[in-house]
């Protein structure tokens, strides 16, 4: 089942203007905005986040937990895949077909889903180039590695993490019905999953939690590389946003991370340099904890220089 990953995450929020300020500072482009109603903020490949008023009648119903997550929109490779998902899911739930060809329904834990032919734009962007002695240089003479004013724009929606109110049921839905693949598992927490048309280590991670927590734990966008991740996160701190965890580098997925609190009442993560996998990969089973969750962890500080004249 050729699902690529999340194209869009839809939120119902209380403070639209604060969310607008956060998403803009995070580096997403405002691609739609209506005063008092909300709008859409997009990464370079057109994957996006939408924020609307919590009581907006056009939104799918909120989860009983009151979480701000209102819908996860999956992009798939072609219209045939939509037909395939519709045939699979309409056997035991209501699936609504829309004029644009997309379908909507709920997963087995009541999370609202939408499936559409992906709206991602194909991008051809510069990678972060790192020179490693002993290997061919990735940056040649006079090509600079850093600039203070790099744009640092999120490139694509990387992954989402759910607080899962019934993890066995939730996991079975994504693995058995939508054919997501297990890459690794935190034995005391939950599975890292990727859909079949995705090579990233995970586009979904599930956390086993009580029902009153159901919702979105965090959302992450991929950055160019570790340098832009550090720069983007440092700018967020300068603007007064609240670092939650990071910067650091995860073990599972190998991705660099930096998580921020935000007025959408979830975490927004910058991530970079995630592992790719295929069906030859054998999942690892490890207990989650400080040692297994990250290779290292840092805390941002003020910039400094040893003994600048006049200091």
């Amino acid at each position: 089942m050729r699902i690529i990953g999340p194209d869009e995450i839809v939120f119902g929020v209380d403070d639209l203007d604060a969310c607008r300020a956060f998403l803009t500072d995070y580096g997403l482009d405002e691609t739609a905005w209506t005063e008092g109603k909300g709008g859409t903020f997009s990464a370079l490949d057109a994957t996006c986040v939408s924020v609307w008023k919590r009581d907006d009648a056009d939104l799918p119903a909120a989860l009983p937990s009151g979480n701000t997550l209102r819908q996860t929109v999956y992009g798939v490779e072609s219209a045939n895949v939509i037909d395939e998902i519709e045939a699979e899911l309409s056997t035991d739930r209501e699936v609504t077909r829309h004029p644009d060809g997309s379908i909507t329904c709920e997963d087995d834990c009541g999370f609202a889903l939408k499936f559409q032919v992906t709206k991602r734009i194909k991008t051809d962007l510069e990678p972060e180039r790192v020179n490693s002695p002993g290997a061919e240089p990735a940056r040649l003479e006079n090509q600079l590695g850093t600039t203070q004013d790099a744009a640092c724009k999120p490139r694509t929606l990387s992954h989402i993490v759910y607080f899962s109110p019934d993890i066995k049921k939730h996991e079975a839905f994504y693995m058995e019905r939508l054919k997501f693949v297990l890459t690794d598992r935190f034995t005391n927490v939950g599975p890292f999953l990727r859909p079949q048309a995705c090579r990233d280590h995970h586009t979904m991670f599930l956390l086993d939690t009580p029902p009153h927590m159901a919702g979105l734990e965090h959302i992450a966008f991929h950055m160019q590389g570790p340098t832009e991740l550090m720069l983007a996160g440092s700018r967020m701190i300068q603007k007064g946003w609240e670092s939650f965890w990071g910067p650091g580098r995860h073990v599972f997925g190998s991705n660099w991370f930096w998580y921020f609190n935000c007025p959408l009442m979830t975490h927004f993560e910058f991530d970079a340099d995630m592992d790719l996998h295929d069906d030859d990969w054998e999942p690892r089973f490890v207990e989650a904890g400080p040692q297994t969750a990250q290779v290292f962890l840092f805390e941002n500080t003020e910039k400094w220089f040893p003994g600048a004249p006049g200091d």
Binding site: E242, P263, P290
Partner: protein
């Protein structure tokens, strides 16, 4: 591997955190009494009344709560909100009434108001985890 036990003793802070008039009525503000680099507590002012809590969501140990510097309240300013996952707390009691830590409580910080200045009423424990290899700094 278990986390290192943080047995650093509470620190007596003699200087004032701020003046009452520095606090905006109906708003919150974060403080870093031990100069740890992050706000480890916050005060909410409601009229003449000040309520103070540790900046530590009971959902995850050491979880920072502000959704932005000094912003610890929801949009209606009638609840404390955690910017990590939207948990809502009663301002007066610190009780979580919605969200991941439902039924848990924030940790109170006792204040002492003297001549319009706001002081900590008791020695204050560190709010940030110790640096690696320096558990007693």
């Amino acid at each position: 591997m278990p986390l290192a036990i943080d047995d650093r003793p509470p620190v007596t802070v003699t200087r004032a955190l701020c003046r009452v008039e520095d606090l905006r009525d109906g708003h919150s503000r974060g403080f870093d009494p031990l100069g740890e680099g992050r706000d480890t507590m916050f005060i909410v002012r409601q009229g003449d009344r000040l309520v103070a809590w540790r900046n530590n969501c009971p959902h995850y140990d050491n979880a920072r709560m502000a959704w932005k510097k000094d912003e610890f309240l929801n949009a209606d300013r009638d609840r404390i909100v955690c910017g990590a996952h939207g948990a809502l707390f009663e301002i007066d009691s610190g009780l979580c009434v919605q969200g991941p830590c439902l039924g848990d409580r924030l940790i109170p910080v006792a204040l002492d108001i003297r001549d319009g200045e706001v002081f900590l009423a008791a020695p204050y424990k560190h709010g940030m985890r110790p640096r690696p290899g320096r558990p007693h700094n």
